[in-house]
């Protein structure tokens, strides 16, 4: 066990260095991009306030963006502020970006977590079914379904759901994470869940195909292996083999893949949140882009990169837990 934790710490350290380098690069690139854009963050901010902008306010925001300084210094100044937790103030919402992200992230997280679990669960089970019935009817049908779903754009699927379940059948609300007009504190967990169902289902439908096909392939490899042949020779039935050898060998790789797919998950949640007017990071970033809210756009970009990197890190750590061979090599 000591070797294992040592191994984990090493992987953690190596990954952390890489993640820091990637995040720095993301921050540089997005800062350069935004600086090159025709939208001036200072003017955009002041524009929203109308004439009611005091000289102090103006000076404050100009110093945040480091107007009149050389680009490198501007970037470093901004990075310093960001590292201190100051992501600037959103031009649309008139509040610190860090607060907005902190608030909306929980909404997004709830949505993504539900979809992640749902997609992982459905995908894994379907993958197992496909693998067990390889090249037989259930497998062929499910494979078609998976391919079909991967060509259907998520937002259109969301639109169809809205049309059928909300407009036609009236089972679900048309949007928002809570009933309109009810103060946030009074919203019960059930109401939240109720508003979460459709977006979460939409989001999970767009991502389960990947995990299902991956699981199918892995299970097929396992069933073709020598150790399954031996298990058969010992009289183990199909389902015993799945339980004793299949799950053991495919569960953690599937979980690893799930962690590595945070980028698609986040990207999908942007679409789902916009279709269902769900107040998460995704709808915030679209708003920010459309209405020229530079600090919010930068903030969410950085945050999404951090989120994806965290997922990749977990995936890398899991690789080690999966395979005793890798674990041993670390000793």
């Amino acid at each position: 066990m000591k070797g294992m934790s040592g191994w984990l710490i090493r992987i953690f350290a190596v990954n952390s260095i890489k993640i820091i380098s990637l995040l720095l690069a993301v921050s540089i690139i997005s800062f350069v991009l935004v600086s090159a854009s025709p939208v001036d963050p200072v003017r955009q901010y002041i524009l929203g306030l109308g004439t009611a902008v005091s000289l102090e306010q103006r000076a404050e925001i100009e110093s945040y963006w480091g107007i009149d300084e050389p680009p490198a210094e501007r970037y470093l100044g901004w990075l310093f502020e960001v590292l201190n937790g100051n992501l600037g103030e959103s031009a649309i919402y008139r509040r610190p970006v860090a607060d907005i992200i902190g608030e909306r992230f929980w909404n997004s997280l709830a949505l993504m977590l539900c979809a992640w679990i749902l997609a992982g669960g459905i995908g894994f089970v379907l993958g197992c079914v496909m693998g067990m019935y390889r090249n037989r009817l259930p497998d062929r049908i499910l494979k078609k379904v998976c391919y079909l779903l991967s060509t259907v754009p998520a937002f259109w699927l969301g639109l169809l759901f809205l049309l059928v379940f909300s407009v036609r059948l009236g089972w679900f609300p048309v949007g928002f994470s809570s009933p309109i007009g009810v103060p946030g504190a009074d919203v019960s967990i059930w109401q939240r869940l109720y508003h979460l169902i459709l977006p979460a289902v939409t989001l999970s439908l767009m991502s389960f195909a990947n995990i299902a096909l991956h699981t199918r392939q892995k299970l097929a490899d396992v069933l073709d292996s020598d150790y399954v042949l031996f298990a058969r020779a010992r009289g183990e039935g199909q389902w015993t083999i799945l339980r004793r050898h299949g799950l053991r060998n495919i569960l953690l790789p599937a979980l690893t893949l799930q962690f590595a797919s945070f980028a698609e998950l986040f990207g999908g949640s942007v679409m789902a949140e916009n279709v269902f007017s769900y107040p998460g990071l995704g709808s915030a970033v679209a708003d920010a882009g459309l209405r020229g809210d530079v600090p919010l756009l930068l903030g969410v970009t950085l945050f999404s990169a951090l989120f994806v990197c965290a997922g990749n890190m977990m995936a890398n750590l899991l690789y080690g837990v999966v395979d005793p061979q890798i674990r041993e090599a670390g000793k």
Binding site: L229, F230, R232, R234, G235, R244, Q325, E328
Partner: protein
């Protein structure tokens, strides 16, 4: 030899072929085992010896009923006098008939070997398996190791324990010796000898013929998917004169200690088997008859042989 004991497993005219698709949708049948005869009695080690590519491992799969789905099996298998059908195979495999596979690759890489040797049986056989591990001098912590942590010899003993944990009466050992040192190989074979002496029947599939006839009671010489000769192991010790089939003699003469004289030619591939005797193309004594008709199995001097010339 003493009076014939009751047979445990009798294989009669067994053929195995594979349906293959080549050139688009053309279907061909690839015959890998043809008209095989084999009789196994309790307390006996039957060595199935032959060079690689002669379909020996498939024989094990056919007995256990774990051939790939595109395999077609004809002929008769009788176990304790009962026809060994797919249903019966399902009932017996892993209980009365056990396989000792070739290598550590037949163990699940992510499962501790103790749990694997225990098998899926209910009630759990852990206590019995621990005793077996002890008997084979496996240290106590072995059960918590993963397959890749085992040495070759340890892996072999784990695999044998896995076969013995169920009190199987018929043990099929598929190439148990390759990759082992001579000492390890001897030790492994001694284990099988012990099992046979306890009254179990052992089918030892191997290409190490000289080791095989040291430990086996009967040796079945396998060539191109069939047994050309089945003889008491003692005949192989006596030398070529005691043997019945030209291929058996050629095998004997090809052994390093007997002059290392290989015979010319190659074993025919499953796709292009000759019409008559499978050995005819390489046989120095072949006649016209050998080229046209497969010789039937005959009893000659206490052994069975497929050759028109054998006396």
């Amino acid at each position: 030899m003493e009076q014939k004991k009751e047979t445990l497993l009798e294989i009669h005219n067994l053929s195995v072929s594979f349906r293959m698709y080549d050139h688009g949708l053309e279907q061909t049948n690839l015959r890998v085992i043809s008209d095989l005869h084999l009789t196994v009695r309790p307390g006996e080690i039957v060595a199935v010896a032959g060079s690689s590519g002669s379909g020996k491992s498939l024989l094990a799969s056919a007995i256990l009923g774990i051939l790939p789905s595109n395999a077609v099996v004809c002929g008769h298998l009788h176990y304790k006098g009962r026809e060994l059908t797919g249903q019966l195979q399902k009932e017996l495999c892993g209980k009365e008939i056990a396989l000792v596979p070739q290598s550590v690759a037949f163990l699940d890489p992510l499962m501790k070997v103790g749990a694997q040797a225990d098998g899926h049986y209910r009630p759990k056989l852990t206590e019995k398996r621990r005793k077996l591990f002890e008997r084979f001098h496996l240290p106590g912590h072995t059960e918590d190791l993963y397959p890749f942590q085992l040495s070759g010899g340890m892996a072999r003993r784990v695999l044998v324990s896995a076969a013995l944990v169920t009190d199987a009466e018929l043990i099929i050992a598929d190439e148990p010796t390759p990759g082992m040192s001579l000492d390890q190989a001897l030790e492994a074979l001694r284990m099988f000898r012990e099992m046979a002496d306890e009254g179990k029947a052992v089918i030892l599939i191997t290409h190490d013929i000289d080791l095989a006839f040291e430990f086996a009671d009967t040796v079945a010489v396998f060539y191109a998917g069939t047994t050309v000769e089945t003889a008491p192991a003692s005949d192989f010790k006596k030398g070529p004169a005691a043997l019945r089939h030209p291929y058996s003699r050629a095998l004997w003469e090809a052994l390093p200690q007997n002059g290392f004289r290989p015979i010319p030619g190659f074993q025919p591939y499953a796709g292009s088997l000759p019409k008559g005797c499978l050995f005819a193309p390489r046989c120095p004594y072949k006649t016209e008859k050998c080229g046209n008709q497969i010789p039937p199995v005959r009893e000659v001097r206490g052994g069975e042989v497929r050759c028109y010339r054998a006396k």
